[in-house]
């Protein structure tokens, strides 16, 4: 088996464990888009754990990069990234979730909404990647 599949499986288990930790201890669903977007609201009771979670994401990347630098190639141009970013931000707030909240946490709870959302974003993602190649972006 391709080694990157093994890494995928192990990394995936870490992601699952992160979701379980947040649920067992804090009683929360690990939906990254929801956690991030609610930081835009006026700071309330839940503000600081959300900020801490996001800080953990950034810090994890930072520490990893110090210890064993990895090369990440971002192919998309600046324009495409800006349009994509707005679509991802708007879409995840409107649809109440992204890959983590719907794709992992929601599907693990067998939520119908999450299963439908995951199928929809996978489908439009696949069509977008195909169209990009046809158009040549």
């Amino acid at each position: 088996m391709n080694i990157s599949y093994v890494h995928g499986l192990i990394g995936g288990m870490f992601i699952g464990a992160a979701a379980v930790i947040l649920y067992w201890f804090n009683g929360r669903i690990m939906g990254v888009s929801g956690i991030a977007s609610r930081l835009l609201a006026r700071p309330g009771q839940d503000y600081w754990w959300r900020a801490a979670f996001i800080l953990g994401l950034v810090l994890g990347g930072f520490i990893y990069q110090l210890k064993s630098p990895i090369a990440v190639v971002v192919d998309a141009s600046e324009w495409v990234l800006m349009i994509a970013g707005v679509l991802v931000g708007f879409g995840t707030v409107m649809g109440n979730g992204c890959t983590s909240g719907h794709g992992i946490c929601g599907m693990a709870r067998l939520s119908k909404r999450s299963i439908v959302a995951t199928l929809v974003f996978m489908m439009t993602g696949i069509v977008t990647v195909w169209l990009k190649k046809v158009v040549g972006v």
Binding site: S4, L9, F14, W24, G56, L57, V74, G106, V120, T124
Partner: protein
Amino acid sequence: MVIIMALVSGLMMSIGLIVSGMVNPLKVIGFLDLFGHFDPTLAFVMVGALGVAAIGYRLVGCSKPLLCESFDLPKKSKIDAPLILGAALFGIGWGLAGFCPAPAIVGLGLGLPKALLFVCAMLVGMFLARRWALRL
């Protein structure tokens, strides 16, 4: 304690995304490239994550979380238009960039200028959607 465990969860998530290669947009786009150079890694990530999360969610022994009063689960159960439309828009952005919210935020820590650009645009999108939702 609630704050510390959220930090631990974020760190764990970050490591998972890096180890699995999902911080790399090309791997994500490879998965979505069903009709081209298909890369199934993301499916393995989903299997690992869903397996652990599904078992973990079911193993909860007590009626409340260890650090607070109650579990906070999404209350909506109806499949409505905003869910479908929102997910569809998200998928288009995801396919365009190869980034979804978590890997892009991890990308900030990795020091990727393009991740910063994406996250800023994402926050603008989130802000607009929140404004728009409040008007409904």
